[in-house]
Subunit: 370 residues, 2 copies
């Protein structure tokens, strides 16, 4: 594995010192910020995440705040999802597309007030898109990146750990809802969400002087629960069918190709960017779609460049964009875009991995894990 | 040093295989792409760059192509630099600022035709800014990221090496000008530019099937010149006063603070974004400005977070954002933003480094290297 040269440009977080003291092994860079990917090793972290509870430094899920009289208008302009019934403190997964319907980001938006939204972004500078649109349309909004540094608490023991730190009320938060809870006398937004399928919360910390006290409190209260630092886990997120922007979808793909058609209301989202471009695909369906793949044979390496997928007759059938060996499934699993002719569940295809061509079977996402 | 988890999202380049075969030691991530930072070690690479010639994989300098009847209008909207006299095949360093005059990027723009520009960007998604503006203003333009993968040739022997591969005509290209030259029968844009002060060229390769042949030709022809792979070198670029977007300047800074006032024509660039916000600063000057700093004592570590700069009386005097030990100057050198009261050349200040407080002297950029 290559090393990472860290500079100010790859921003550290208020938790970086704690993470480095804990011996973080590897980072990726996400929204110009350090995101820990390996604490012990990917497989150890995977088993631990599925059994216990982890504290994740996901500060790199930067918030773009849109505030002002035209805030809702601008956020609606940015997504084909219909936000007209959005309630306060509700989280929305919103595809953001360009004028051709190509994915620019797949954030979670939170409506904090009628005139105030946070957009919790994947890895692209959505702020520049929002600012450009707002400038062109002369919207009355302020668009900022507040110093919010999210700590994720993920894993089956998340409710128990969070209840010890934030009180029993945290258990009543429903999925994709949030509440303002207290820590050291300060009100902090906590949502039941996160980039794993093991359950958990995201703590939207605004006051960075509380970062290390919050980290320390989670580890002190979690000592008996085998709490450990963690981060989005490649194996677990593929098993769970969690797509990664930049990996499994890019500007080349529409939301329908990404399996996000249910978040697009092209009838209702009149005036949103890319809506016209998506109208026909909304009716006819996409020409390719994201699928899971079971890839036979020995464990494959990680997927750095897309791996071509071909049919028995040699025809192009798509590409695999993320892959790992699943210890619980005892097979290689992958996520990829598969063309219409070959996307039936059970279809047999070939995947060109760096370790050679492999037989693979097209399947649903998420994977069914025992 | 931490390791880097590579995935498709951190895009490889057509040269990555060659670089890895050459034993690249470290990368940074720039425009969602791998940028090599260390080949042997930073100090070895530094001495080599200043004596010989290096081939740099700077594919991460992505091109944003703006094409169409409104291309020039959009590019002018994006910068306070006056482009009205821009000639074809000329390179322009253009500050790009937001509505408040804050730096969004500091690219080099090339006018390829009256209706076609390439913007060779620093590390932020300028495409989203350009697309947002164009959508809002209903400009008739197509904005794309063509598959251009720049190879830099940098160092005092650059002209000799380039002449062997592209012919003697390359020597006639003036600084910040370009020409279309031939390699294996294909026309390739070559500019005299690059992110070092050692002289050299940037080869804008459009056909990725020529990437490895081009790399191999440069190494074959350069064998007698001690050619080596390289990349932007931290020490050399600080000596040369080359600012790095995200490190030495951010959205918090104006072009005037960054010493880029000479690239801002606020009188002429009527209608450009941020022009109004910069008018007063153009007259009165900024409240802080980028400076070089000589930092006394033992070699300092790299600058991950800004280092506070204070005056003898304890007052805030600014911050250092890049630093390294210069072997040729035999002192620590840094780049930082220094407040007006303390920005005089020769001013003595304190810098709070991770290795303790150090005496430092404010100076000009670039550093004077013997």
């Amino acid at each position: 594995m290559a090393q990472l040269s860290i500079s100010r440009r790859l921003r550290g977080t208020p938790y970086t010192n704690r993470l480095e003291a804990a011996g973080v092994k590897a980072y990726t860079v996400y929204n110009h910020m350090l995101l820990p990917t390996v604490i012990d090793d990917v497989e150890f972290d995977y088993h631990h995440l599925k059994k216990h509870v982890q504290v994740w430094d996901v500060s790199c899920e930067r918030q773009i705040e849109v505030r002002g009289p035209d805030a809702e208008k601008l956020v609606q302009l940015m997504t084909p999802r219909d936000l007209s019934k959005a309630q306060i403190d509700q989280c929305f997964y919103i595809p953001i597309v360009d004028e051709s319907g190509g994915m620019l980001n797949d954030p979670v938006a939170i409506k904090l007030a009628d005139d105030r939204f946070w957009i919790s972004i994947a890895d692209s500078d959505v702020m520049l898109w929002a600012k450009g649109l707002a400038y062109g349309f002369r919207h009355e909004v302020a668009i900022t990146e507040p110093d919010v540094n999210i700590l994720g608490v993920q894993g089956p023991k998340s409710d128990d750990l969070m209840a010890r730190v934030f009180g029993e009320q945290v258990r009543t938060i429903r999925f994709f809802r949030g509440a303002w809870l207290y820590f050291e006398g300060q009100s902090i937004y906590v949502a039941r969400s996160g980039y794993s399928k093991q359950g958990g919360f995201e703590i939207y910390l605004e006051d960075r002087t509380l970062a290390e006290p919050l980290w320390d409190a989670l580890f002190a209260e979690g000592a008996g629960m085998q709490v450990r630092p963690g981060g989005p886990n490649l194996i677990e997120r593929i098993e769970g069918g969690l797509l990664s922007y930049g990996n499994d979808m890019t500007r080349e793909n529409t939301p329908f190709e990404c399996g996000l058609g249910r978040f697009c209301d092209v009838e209702a989202s009149i005036g949103s960017v890319g809506r016209n471009a998506l109208m026909r695909e909304a009716q006819n369906g996409p020409v390719r779609v994201v699928r899971g793949l079971n890839i036979e044979g020995e464990p494959v390496p990680g997927c750095r460049d897309p791996w071509p997928v071909t049919a028995d007759n040699g025809e192009w059938a798509g590409q695999v964009t993320s892959a790992a060996f699943s210890p619980d499934l005892q097979t290689n699993i992958g996520i990829g875009m598969i063309e219409r002719d070959y996307w039936q569940i059970g279809q047999s295809v070939w995947v060109e991995t760096p370790a050679g061509a492999r037989r693979a079977t097209v399947g649903d996402l998420p994977f069914t894990v025992p």
